[in-house]
């Protein structure tokens, strides 16, 4: 599974990225987590509010400063 954390240059985006890494570890997922900070790539993905979380090409959250608990919940739903 591929998880993208979209958004750069703001503290919330960095936090969501760090928390996602931890969440993936905790859930023991075989996932590739990447941070997307490139503006062109953001436009291509159609992301307009950051931080956004994209799992396997699907935007599961946008414009919300998710906390770790919520990230865990989202990832659990995605893996079901």
């Amino acid at each position: 599974m591929e998880i993208l954390v979209v958004g750069g240059g703001c503290a919330d985006c960095d936090k969501v990225y760090a928390d996602t890494l931890e969440a993936v570890e905790e859930l023991g997922l075989a996932a590739d987590v990447r941070k997307v900070e490139d503006l062109v790539e953001m436009v291509r993905m159609g992301i307009m509010s950051v931080p956004a979380l994209v799992v396997d090409g699907r935007t599961v959250s946008a414009g919300r400063s998710l906390r770790k608990k919520q990230i865990l919940q989202l990832l659990r739903q995605e893996t079901k």
């Binding site: 958004g7 240059g9 703001c10 919330d12 985006c13 503006l39 062109v40 953001m42 436009v43 291509r44 993905m45 159609g46 992301i47 307009m48 509010s49 950051v50 935007t59 946008a62 414009g63 919300r64 400063s65 906390r67 919520q70």
Partner: protein, 337 residues
Amino acid sequence: MEALRAGWFFFQDQVLGMQWLNRLIGRGVAALGLDPEGLWGGILRFFLYDTVKIFVLLSVLIFVISYIQSYFPPERTRKILGRFRGLWANILAALLGTVTPFCSCSSIPLFMGFTSAGLPVGVTFSFLISSPMVDLGSLVLLMSVFGGRVAVVYVLFGLVIAVAGGTLLDKLGMERYVEDFIRSAPRLETESAALTRQDRALYARDQLLATIRKVAPYIFLGVGVGAVIHNVIPQTWVETVLGDRNPLAVVLATAVGVPMYADIFGTIPVAESLLFKGAGLGTVLSFMMAVTTLSLPSLIMLKKTVKPRLLGAFIAVCTVGIILVGYFFNALQAFLI
């Protein structure tokens, strides 16, 4: 009619302005053995009253506003705007800017998302100007601090600057000065997920907590600076520099405000005490608009997506608009407060 008037003033002074709290804190400060009108007692009183007031209002407001905002994600706003043309599109963009959730770090993805979907640059800029400058929260907070008339006029002028600024940028042919990678980006239609009432309440709660965490330092700083101005800086200084004796007061306040970055909630206590010390109303409002609308961090981000000509035009249009509003408000001050 009289009863209605009295009711409104009660709402404005006691519910929004929480004057009862000010009296209560005054008594508490006196109980501590400090004179609530004296230097330290005054600073303490202003600080406690303003922080409590702003945090209470802010919490209620952000929750209600976020709930409303959950109906207007940027994807939806973009779709609505795409249906309108000309001046109406600018007016609608300015209005939607007041309800679309958006923090400064989202302004660039949002700008690109709007532009790549084929929205005219002028419409996008109307949105980008109104979004930080005018929102529902600032309307209520302004009412609490400056009274209803000032608040309504502030919001109206904010919208006028947004509409006029966007239209002007369009007329100047600024479309050309958007970076190529945005114009050539594919047009994407993204759907936002349907939300239940519970989802919206949850979203509103999250926004409330996140916003409080984010703006708290600015509020403490703003109220602290406000308390010092309120109690330490001599009235004559403020009057000389920012009062009606200085014809360049508005220009000065705008120039100081532009590079600063602060939330409108942190800016209001500073504005409040400057006004109390004899600064002109328009001067104070110009300062607030300049701080919230233009800031170095957002300009640096915007620079990545537009060419210098457009960036310069954007800064110029906003600055001139804000200065004009300042002089206008100063001229009208006698009728507004």
